[in-house]
Amino acid sequence: MTDEPVLEVRELRKEYRVRTSRAEAVPAAGSALLGHAVTRRERAGVLVAVDDVSFSVSPGQSLAVVGESGSGKTTVARMVVGLERPTSGTIMVSGRERSWRHVSSRERRRRAREVQIVFQDPYSSLDPRMSVRASLDESLRLHFDWTRERRDERVAELLDQVGLDRRQANSLPKALSGGQRQRVAIARALASEPRVLICDEAVASLDVSIQAQILNLLSDIRDATGVSYLFISHDLAVVRQVSDAVLVMRRGRVIEAGPTASVLSEPSDAYTKQLLAAIPRPGWKPTLSGS
């Protein structure tokens, strides 16, 4: 394992042009793929969703990006995978810069073998008309020049890896539970053998026992494949379990970064302390934040 970072992000910035003066109400005019609201206005007509974010992830490392909703963490993830175009800054994957001009189909296919993403909502992140096998096979066919038998073998292997029964290979997503769907989404992401897997709130919509299973699964997968994680989450309890390092974001900026253990045990920033105080624990009573 070399120490050269597999993913390196420098001075990343994302601005959205906003048509109205009420920046709060408008989530990125013209950007169809944006799935969340951003609540920051810097100057009139421009909304800065991500501001000067830098970090790097080494092979096999797991970096968590935490922050409240609207802090820009999902936008960072979407920029890394190419769903959003950064306003400025660089994203390097395996030492190669990702440019945003004329990304060809071929280049996108190559990038797909570097970084993959698992989305939050397992109910809408799988094609409802495609069986589990078809989903996985589609990716294998695209990325590898394998025979049918080899692909079938690999599908079975991927299902095993994410803890799904082979009998479920032929079911449609609607026949699966949320946790099972998320496993399928993980298997599909792993199909192209990426070096980095981004989990965008990947366990947030699952119930707690399933969350724990999926987190364990992710950790097993890391041990088995050496994949790196970029873990986007608002839940520090989850972050504590999965990540080596953590990056705290607020209003588009990084306000604290460091090894998970030290950030979570001795937070230096008031906001991180607030986030920590918001983790439910025995005897915990919800209080208004800011106190």
């Binding site: 769903l83 996108r108 797909a112 989305f119 992140s125 008309r129 589609e138 609607k174």
Partner: protein, 287 residues
């Protein structure tokens, strides 16, 4: 305790057996019969639909002519059976062209958005403001009566209707995370649009096509009735409604009546089927 009889461990419930949907079955049967009539018209028709017999005009039903004859003494049953051909072909062509063009434009608009989408939507708005029948009459005035001109004109006026409905659904699909996952997965835009988005708008597309079919048939029959479409003596229902008019006053309404009845049966069958498919689709979980 009797209440504990249910197993505590959830076993997968047996899939509920799908009850036969009588509306779909009956309308489907009617439509299938019509298509069979069109295909096998020469075998089914008891007589030559163009064979006129001046000695047997406007006859009532008899053994020789089951539904009677028209004012030229032609066998009405045969004319109705042959009439299925053009009466279905016209609307089928209209719907085929309109769905094809509409779907391609809809999916491209949904995918690319931006100026392409705006231009397509504005052109659709303009076409919307133009009644299809007037458009068809205009086309006939320019290219002459027949099947082609009204079919092309009505195809154009049906396209924006289908385009809009499909675009809305394609846009919804396009913004779902599974499409983003496909994109990140490296699939080409063409594959995403055809294998994923198109496949997911397909149910809606079928419903819209079925519903529009009825309207297209009525519009085309109206064009024929006005004498702008297929010309007599070709057997076609719209034409038959029109040519049968003169006999109505003489007390022989059967030609217009029967042709009109065929139009009603066909349109009702397609509309009921479309409505039923639409409501069934709403019932399903839309992920």
């Amino acid at each position: 305790m009797a209440t504990l009889e249910a197993p505590l461990v959830a076993t997968p419930a047996p899939r509920p057996r799908r009850r036969p949907d009588w509306v779909v079955l009956s309308t489907g049967t009617v439509i299938a019969l019509l298509v069979l009539m069109a295909v096998f018209a020469p075998l089914l028709a008891p007589d030559n639909p163009d064979y006129a017999n001046i000695l047997a005009t406007n006859q009532g039903p008899s053994a020789a002519h089951l539904l009677g004859t028209d004012s030229f003494g032609r066998d009405l049953l045969s004319r109705l059976i042959y009439g299925v051909r053009l009466s279905l072909l016209g609307p089928a062509l209209i719907i085929l062209i309109a769905t094809l063009v509409g779907t391609v434009l809809a999916i491209l608009s949904a995918w690319y958005g931006g100026w392409f989408d705006r231009v397509v939507s504005r052109v659709a708005d303009i076409l919307f403001a133009f009644p299809g029948l007037i458009f068809a009459m205009l086309a006939v005035a320019m290219f002459g009566p027949g099947l082609v001109a009204p079919v092309v004109a009505l195809s154009i006026s049906y396209t924006p209707y289908l385009m809009r409905v499909i675009r809305a659904e394609a846009l919804r699909q396009r913004n779902l995370p599974y499409v983003a996952a496909c994109y990140v997965g490296g699939l080409s835009v063409r594959t995403i649009c055809t294998r994923h988005i198109l496949r997911n708008v397909m149910p809606l597309l079928v419903v819209q096509a079925a519903l529009s079919f009825g309207y297209a048939l009525v519009d085309l029959a109206a064009v024929s009735y006005l004498g702008l479409g297929v010309q007599p003596p070709t057997p076609e229902w719209g034409v038959m409604v029109s040519t049968g008019q003169s006999a109505i006053l003489a007390g022989h309404p059967q030609e217009s009546l029967l042709a009109g009845l065929m139009i009603v049966i066909t349109v009702v069958a397609f509309n009921l089927l479309g409505d039923r498919l639409a409501s069934r689709q709403k019932g399903t979980v839309r992920a």
